[in-house]
Subunit: 321 residues, 6 copies
Amino acid sequence: MKTLYVADIRENQLVDGLFLVATKNQGVSRGGNSYLTLKLIDRSGEIEGRVWERADDLGRGFERNDFVRVRGQATLYQGKIQIRVQDVARVDGSKIVAADFLPQGVFDPDAMLAEVQTILRGIKNPHLLALAEACFADEALMQLLKCAPGAKTIHHPYLSGLLEHSLSLLKLILKVVDNYRGIDVDLLLIGGFLHDIGKVYEFSFDRAIDYTDAGQLLGHLIMEVELVTRKIDMIPEFPAELALLVKHLLVSHHGAYEFGSPKLPQTLEAVILHSLDDLDGKIQAIQSLPEREPGSKWTAFHRAYGRSFYRGSGEKTETEK
Amino acid sequence: MKTLYVADIRENQLVDGLFLVATKNQGVSRGGNSYLTLKLIDRSGEIEGRVWERADDLGRGFERNDFVRVRGQATLYQGKIQIRVQDVARVDGSKIVAADFLPQGVFDPDAMLAEVQTILRGIKNPHLLALAEACFADEALMQLLKCAPGAKTIHHPYLSGLLEHSLSLLKLILKVVDNYRGIDVDLLLIGGFLHDIGKVYEFSFDRAIDYTDAGQLLGHLIMEVELVTRKIDMIPEFPAELALLVKHLLVSHHGAYEFGSPKLPQTLEAVILHSLDDLDGKIQAIQSLPEREPGSKWTAFHRAYGRSFYRGSGEKTETEK
Amino acid sequence: MKTLYVADIRENQLVDGLFLVATKNQGVSRGGNSYLTLKLIDRSGEIEGRVWERADDLGRGFERNDFVRVRGQATLYQGKIQIRVQDVARVDGSKIVAADFLPQGVFDPDAMLAEVQTILRGIKNPHLLALAEACFADEALMQLLKCAPGAKTIHHPYLSGLLEHSLSLLKLILKVVDNYRGIDVDLLLIGGFLHDIGKVYEFSFDRAIDYTDAGQLLGHLIMEVELVTRKIDMIPEFPAELALLVKHLLVSHHGAYEFGSPKLPQTLEAVILHSLDDLDGKIQAIQSLPEREPGSKWTAFHRAYGRSFYRGSGEKTETEK
Amino acid sequence: MKTLYVADIRENQLVDGLFLVATKNQGVSRGGNSYLTLKLIDRSGEIEGRVWERADDLGRGFERNDFVRVRGQATLYQGKIQIRVQDVARVDGSKIVAADFLPQGVFDPDAMLAEVQTILRGIKNPHLLALAEACFADEALMQLLKCAPGAKTIHHPYLSGLLEHSLSLLKLILKVVDNYRGIDVDLLLIGGFLHDIGKVYEFSFDRAIDYTDAGQLLGHLIMEVELVTRKIDMIPEFPAELALLVKHLLVSHHGAYEFGSPKLPQTLEAVILHSLDDLDGKIQAIQSLPEREPGSKWTAFHRAYGRSFYRGSGEKTETEK
Amino acid sequence: MKTLYVADIRENQLVDGLFLVATKNQGVSRGGNSYLTLKLIDRSGEIEGRVWERADDLGRGFERNDFVRVRGQATLYQGKIQIRVQDVARVDGSKIVAADFLPQGVFDPDAMLAEVQTILRGIKNPHLLALAEACFADEALMQLLKCAPGAKTIHHPYLSGLLEHSLSLLKLILKVVDNYRGIDVDLLLIGGFLHDIGKVYEFSFDRAIDYTDAGQLLGHLIMEVELVTRKIDMIPEFPAELALLVKHLLVSHHGAYEFGSPKLPQTLEAVILHSLDDLDGKIQAIQSLPEREPGSKWTAFHRAYGRSFYRGSGEKTETEK
Amino acid sequence: MKTLYVADIRENQLVDGLFLVATKNQGVSRGGNSYLTLKLIDRSGEIEGRVWERADDLGRGFERNDFVRVRGQATLYQGKIQIRVQDVARVDGSKIVAADFLPQGVFDPDAMLAEVQTILRGIKNPHLLALAEACFADEALMQLLKCAPGAKTIHHPYLSGLLEHSLSLLKLILKVVDNYRGIDVDLLLIGGFLHDIGKVYEFSFDRAIDYTDAGQLLGHLIMEVELVTRKIDMIPEFPAELALLVKHLLVSHHGAYEFGSPKLPQTLEAVILHSLDDLDGKIQAIQSLPEREPGSKWTAFHRAYGRSFYRGSGEKTETEK
């Protein structure tokens, strides 16, 4: 069991803990001896490890992407903490809890799922309700949903991020529809629940968050159409037009061809779903950005949005004293 | 005073009413006689008028864009009602109520303005509150705001449409911020109130909704920066950073360079304002679209959005019997 | 049964035939009498019909999109043939053969399907062969495939056009792969067969070629993924990676996001399929373009390609005499 | 006072001079000792400094962006001159002349401003002349104008670069209008003078040329509209249409939406101003590019223009001998 | 010889003149009689002609694009002058002066050519001078140059427009280079002279200004490279690098790939040539635009530039009285 | 003569061989001694060389881009082989066979050229045949054609790559035209042969494959138009329209403005040539991509195509056992 996290390691501390080997490189010192440079990570961050002794020997015992037990001492080098490794050995992956090694959202997945279910069980349309229940009854799906991240990097890029985003979106939908007449709220809610559910297959998230081959070649949008097709096929008398409307929400929710939607939103609900999905993701992403440098009024540059964001001096809305 | 509207004219009815001359063309019949073809409009629609007798004579008495009193008889021609005009004469514009001739929103402008004021007076930041009050105190501005349309064609294209859109947006902002932490709601509210206020100068709306020269050469975004600059210049001790944040909301609210924003949204509030402004306009626009043809499941094509919208058969969410 | 085609009607001929009413407009003559202007179509072209007598009476008996029996006489008006209609009456649609009213390709659908099957039965991979056979065994699908058009307007826009395009593409694939090593021909062939098969649901083609609601809201690409998912689900031990590769061919075959592919081609076979599909469509489309005007060296303007094509004087490659 | 410039430092020279600390990094040598790596800059260039002794001690006395007095010796390391620093200490910024530390244009700012004023005082339109004089009378503005750079990197990126560009543009305008009839030269001159004047607020240029917060959030275009609005508001009887034309020149002078102009040039003068502004900047930028490598016929790559420029062999237009 | 121009025809006037038949359509009147509707053009404008009698007979004697002698009477119909044609007959094209039928610039071609030659003979580089002289010595080329239009519609779209544009550009170059150092003026002048010379082959301009097949398939840019290649091949010892620089000016002068330049401007001179060429064309085009409607402050919409231009009230720079 | 290749050098081996100096950098060791770091290349790859002794002395004897004879010993450093150089001296370039130092395609150039000639001599059109023969008769051209690469990096980036691509394209053309009627195969074949022939002047390929100045300023497309213009000028009675069609193939073969074609393909043959040229290049490029990492199912990222390609597990089309 993991008890020591990277973020807690201090100068000169004796280290004995479990880490994931993110990179492993062999070098040869001026003196002609082999050494190993390791990048060791867990959910709290990353740290460099150096193996100066028995490097060839120890190096044969593990590879990149292995979990390892590392013993050594923390030292300061060029202003950074690193571990001088005395011993390192592979650990059986089955003894590992993934959540120790990947960033995890702050909310409890079971509680979030319960809240999602409560909202969706408020759906009045019996067919859409049946579709929601068919998903809830699929335990493998629910297990994945509780763990899956919202993205690799853009927004909610941590375990349970998908569920957090979905729940936030459902609550946002309920508020927004309250401001207008004539919106099919049941349809919007099922769309909010299912619009990203293919991400449970798009990403692998056992060691690091990465795209699966299917995620790369098909994408979550296609895979959730497949999922929904199979679920609806098993619900008796599901109206054909309603199935069409649900699937249209999925295929159009990126809002534009260049973002991978093969169809533009062509119903009022599809327009709203795209808009609120986009907004919820952006709010989370912008609020999570680190500062450009300590004390800066600006965030770090966000690649996908092509800009930094201004946070201000913190006194912007203060009353004059 | 206007008592007869285009939409109420029936076949064979005797016509005596006030209209705006939208187009006026002279023709010559096979028999060599002059006649006039008029397009007459009021806020309820448009109708063709034909002057077969004394055309030269009557034609000298008015021009395109004049208000006229028309007398004649409604007849059916090629499946459409037209007026065979017996008499037509220019009417003094000062006797005209513009709202009779331009489409008018369904909500009461005074009530909407009151609601806007109530919301903005909930602002806690004293500087932003002072800015709101400075605008409310500008009576000429408030008069224009009560009348101005939201656009020429895209969304809310009718008298008081700007106010209707602003109010809807303010209410939407209040709901949405409730779903998140860390958003400066005062800033968002002042942005929601001011983001389109330059449209009172961008459009002329005394006879038809059209762009003014200033609207075409500068645009509402620039003109509202000028307005806000002048207002803030007169508020003592308005913090410079806060002024910057307010103006940034205005200049970035179109969200992209190609839509005429010289700067991209670079604060969380600017991102949210752009998103909700866009959404509110789209919902109104899509819900107002006519059907493609009577009974169609599809709306007419929307030019700016480049598509039709699917409304469905009306039974899409019905419970099975 | 239809015996008379629009293209065969000559000046002064007595007309008695079955047509589809494409448009129906009522007019009123100077003399105050109603008349009807009809656009009558069949697979050979369109002709105008005018009903000058008993227009109200006859007009009540049919609507746009009805099949009608028309009797009258062909006359020349402003350089064009039109029919002065004496009698027109609705005909029961069940007595109509659709192929009489829609343009039909020149090749025999049964012979083309047989050729397609022969090619696909040459596939060596047993799973892909099983997938092909599963499609052949679906008789409803095969019936639709024999009739469906290749497009509404762009290329192969006529009955059986989809099958003609698919067969041409399969033959092209066989030739091209012969020029290279290392291409998975079985995969390419199944992709060539299935890449557009969703068009059987994307278009309606009983009266005119038009998009279905599902075609508009989902598109053929999504619908053929659904079809293939269902077929593969029923084939035992179909390898997961192979299923992924087949579906990737479908979702990427438009080659670019802006053409509605949610994923870019990411396998060699996907790149080739997109390229040859595009080429085969373009060759058919360009060769089918009419001349700009009689005798012109240039074709009419092709909207989707944004240009006319130069056909030359016809003597371009002639040997000098 | 600064007497020693980076560009003048030679191998083995004893160094004693004032520099700006551009970066400051701490390292630890193999032997476990701290050392500092500094990037020291002045207007003539940059040089590396290494503090090998008393690094911790000296390092506490200054930070990045401080001005420091450095004593040490110049040495050659890996083909480059660097300073082995014996002593380094912060210097009070008030004793510093900014122009010593930032690149400075080659022309005298006072002489350039005088020339600009002479040209603008040739304006015949009394209102535009009054606007020019109102700007000249604003001493704070004139001080900034004499110092401000033309840009951060693209063109004229040095102190007084804005004035140099403005003067060059005014002279170019005078020449070009001479080639045509019907151009309003007074309007063009005022546009040439004011089109970039907001850059005095867009950039900070006391230590390095960088964007201000206002420059990033509003941009010079918006800020110069504010400036001109305030100036015009104070000129009695300034014609409204003329104000509109002046401001239109400002808001449209980038020529395209994607370059941050919220309106396209819609007057002849706006078209000309954009074209000549762009040309003058490009000529300066291209002529200032360094060679790709010593002796190359090509310049270094220009990022914003996306290309290198060919300068040729220097004999391109030589007469044959 | 042509003595009567369209623009001079008045109501009720007897007409006898030469015109070009731009369109010729046959109609049948209600009474069953054939009539002809002609569009007749000359350089001053276009007028409709109607042949009510002997239409079949007269119509056989000429076709579209023929020159014809027309006799008849001018009458007013629906507010427009048209000709009731009594007689119309084809005229031998050899008796026609093209300049009577196509719009012609206002400047004398011979005088313009002389001025162009004077400017170019100021070139000091002997190779470039030799290239200019080789062009002047090509009489067929000079004849075409004196007549060719500057474009079909965009700018200088009239006979001798190409020469007018080239001369204006040369004079502009001389002024602009005076504002800068280090520009190769000889190179710019030869570029200004040759950059559009391929238009003499790109357009046909004997009856109407239209693209030739070569103009459509290759374009003036390619054809002038061919021309210059042939000329340079015949000049002894023309330096290879100089030839490259001249041709680079030609291939890059549209300034961007999307405007048909296969290479971007990569020399200072190429950048300047593109910029001034573009500016000169735009000034001519904008100044030539008609008003949107009589008295409007706005011009008609310019398709290629995607906007109207504001001309103002005419009092914009007036002194207050 | 070169006998030792980089790819064959093993740890501890004594080295004596000819290499091209790709980079040459001087350093100073901690001990204050100069040393040289060299990148040495030949067609098989690159290797680092370090000169630790007599570095100043030896360094004066050669420069970057020189061919050198290197003597020393191969050693392993940080997991990579490098050469500890004892002696290095410049070698006269005239003794060098370029093919030893640049990557070379796997096919024999003479055999490929013979095959190209056989195909083209099957052309029936006598003019096009004469054009082909005129090219074959140009020995300097044929020598260049046998050596030239297909590109710098995109596809066929090795000696004789241009010929390999041209031959593959010709064979592809012959196969594809067989699938369609009405294509002018002679025209397509001459286009396939000439479409890239300007690359013999666009690239230098004596030491490394790089763009020439002419390649950069004009490009192969323009230079092959010049070449073909000169060849056709010398063939008597070559039909003008045919010349136009050949040149159109050249100028349009990149298929789009943004890829440097000044004209879009406007003949059926031009459309086909662009499509097949693009396909042949892509197949070669994709098949040549290395793996992302050893054993990966994905290739390295391809910059120009903006993606990696999926190669799969290698069992994708296997029969189940």
